[in-house]
Amino acid sequence: MLFDAATAGQTARVEVRESRGLYRVTIGEKMLELDLVKIGEHDVSVLVDGVSHDLTLEKTPEGFAVLVGGDRFDVGLKDAVKGAALGRAAPPGPLKLTAPMPGKIVKVLVSAGEGVEAGRGVLVMEAMKMENELKTTRAGTVQQIRVMEGQVVDMGALLLVIG
């Protein structure tokens, strides 16, 4: 199976094959043979030519997060054949600003119909006692405001639509 993988500023074409309980993984030119043992729900112990890796995995919208030692990799994966993102694809059309964390809307800094430049602060959210100003990544017009000041929203909740 072929994937396009991206993490830590690097991208690679990755092929995975299975044979006799081992995984053959080809990254670019290089081939790794993984003796992989699953431990509990999130951990795997991997031996590659005697080199031992203790990894912890977590499913993410884009692919998987991988903890190795003290480091973390958010690995994005695409099916290299279908080309479809394994995770959620970037939404097309107008910019839908969603909550980056659960929290409370402290202030709405724009009004419907108002024009905004990219980088303009549009909302102030409070979470864990810190106020965070959310900015639009795109210039346009505020088409919808889906929240009110004082409202508590979940992570990923739709806040504003800017077209």
Binding site: E41, H42, V44, M130
Partner: protein, 504 residues
């Protein structure tokens, strides 16, 4: 001075790791513990850990952990003799300390008068000035209306700091570089101060550039004995909040340690302070200390002092509140080895430390020699969005600073948390940075680090390979593309023989 009277039951008016820390001390002293909890905290660790636990209201702290009357009522009903406030919440609230006294409850902390004198920054600065302790130039009184702030700002000049008069923990704190940023910053700082402390008055002071944040721990008993337990280096901060602390400070010389210790003890005596307290200083490049404020409570970072001095500060707080005299003098105290603390927070260091509450899917804590984990969470817990993002304090102790850094890197590499993003990967990078290793840093370290490119040798290849294998297994199990809506709490990509060790 009443003669020592041992407590048999103590109420802890707090949550999270510090509530658990205080309960551990109580359990070791044979004191029963009473927890209070909000809607969001029924299953919190401090509730499970306590001997008794009582519901005090909705999740927002204003309606629960800040509700004096409710908490005092619980203390009465539970037959508690004393209240430990931890840090934050009501810990530096003079009115609460007084109310405890009026109720015949012992407040495990300083007298209300000392909190009033030192807790409010501008009055603390006035006291310090009288005591001849150097302070940073700025307003000595809280400013309520914006006009006054604009005027003062013009007088002092830029860059300057905006601070919540009632504040602490960096809340309501803002650096203002130039005049045109002032107004917007004032608004934001006021609104933060309001929601955090219910008081939006601010004060401003000259910003000292490349400063080190160094603080002195003191202990004072009810018999007039005061000692200091040396310094803590707290210069590694993000959004004006400490994230890595250590003791001793690599920047402090024996002379400076001696000098700051004496200033701290003098100021502590001057205000008739009792119990544990911390005097925060800014130290400039020329090793000149400027008194900033006094934290009239236990500090988040107290464990580094415990590990180098061998003194249990929370137990000492309780003994002092019981009326006992300090069992040691200044000369009995020594620093052995080196300790470092890293604050493990539910934040995304890749996204400017934005809070990242959520459910802890899996948790593996580090162990072995010289490693201490002061945690407020457990596997399966939903970290609530209503409170501070601190979930655990990872602390190490070793013979030397070099050995302590190596040990912390080892401990960080053993600490595995999934389900939420944490500050752990940040520590792996920060502690390997040459500037940190040399001890050559200031409060701007984190900002500079994040601007730099990451030049660690990283295990990118194996991470990609194993992620691809996981995706391959997922595909094999469910034809069709992965569905990101799959709940991360059921890692279906590793279905089969769950909880067991399986060769794939």
């Amino acid at each position: 001075m009443s003669s020592p009277r041992k407590f048999s039951k103590v109420l802890i008016a707090n949550r999270g790791e510090i509530a658990v820390r205080v309960m551990r001390a109580c359990r070791e002293l044979g004191i029963r513990t009473v927890a209070v909890y909000s809607e969001a905290d029924r299953a919190a660790l401090h509730v499970r850990y306590a001997d008794e636990a009582y519901f005090i209201g909705p999740s927002p702290s204003r309606e629960s952990y800040l509700k004096m009357d409710t908490i005092l009522d619980v203390a009465r009903r539970s037959g508690s003799e004393a209240i430990h406030p931890g840090y934050g919440f009501l810990s530096e609230n003079a009115a609460f300390a007084k109310a405890c006294g009026d109720e015949g409850l012992v407040f495990i902390g300083p007298p209300a008068e000392a909190i009033a004198a030192m807790g409010e920054k501008t009055s603390a600065r006035r006291v310090a000035v009288e005591a001849g302790v150097p302070v940073v130039p700025g307003t000595l009184h809280p400013l309520v209306d914006n006009q006054a702030i604009l005027a003062e700002a013009k007088r002092i000049g830029y860059p300057l700091m905006l601070k919540a008069a009632a504040g602490g923990g960096g809340k309501g704190l803002r650096l203002v570089q130039k005049a045109d940023e002032l107004e917007m910053s004032v608004d934001r700082a006021r609104s933060e101060a309001k929601s955090a402390f219910g008081d939006d008055s601010l004060y401003i002071e000259k910003a000292i550039l490349k400063p080190r944040h160094i603080e002195i721990q003191v202990l004072a008993d009810k018999h007039g004995n005061v000692v200091h337990l040396f310094e803590r280096e707290c210069s590694i901060q993000r959004r004006h909040q400490k994230i890595i602390e250590e003791s001793p400070s690599p920047f402090v010389t024996a002379e400076l340690r001696q000098r700051m210790g004496s200033l701290a003890v003098a100021l502590t005596k001057k205000v008739g302070y009792v119990n544990a307290g911390t005097l925060e200083f800014l130290v400039d490049e020329n090793r000149e200390p400027y008194f900033l404020e006094m934290n009239t409570r236990i500090q988040v970072e107290h464990p580094v002092t415990e590990m180098v001095t061998g003194i249990d500060l929370v137990k000492m707080q309780i003994r002092i509140a019981e009326g006992e005299a300090l069992p040691f003098t200044q000369n009995d105290l020594t620093q052995r080895g080196h300790a470092i603390e890293c604050r493990v927070c539910a934040e995304d260091p890749e996204a400017n430390f934005i809070p990242n509450p959520g459910r802890i899917e899996s948790l593996r804590v580090p162990g072995g020699p010289g490693v201490r984990d002061d945690s407020g969470v457990y596997e399966g817990l939903e970290v609530p969005m209503f409170y501070d993002p601190l979930i655990s304090k990872l602390v190490v102790h070793a013979e030397t600073r070099e050995a302590a850094i190596a040990r912390m890197l080892r401990a960080v590499s053993e600490y595995k948390i999934t389900g939420i993003k944490t500050t752990l990967p940040f520590f792996d990078r920060a502690l390997r940075h040459p500037k940190f290793i040399e001890g050559d840093f200031d409060t701007g370290f984190v900002a500079r680090l994040q601007a730099e490119k990451d030049d660690r040798v990283r295990a990118t290849e194996i991470a990609m390979a194993v992620a691809a294998v996981a995706a391959y297994r997922a595909r094999r199990q469910f034809r069709g593309p992965m569905n990101s809506s799959t709940s991360p709490s059921s890692p279906w990509w590793l279905l089969g023989n769950r909880d067991s060790v399986t060769r794939l």
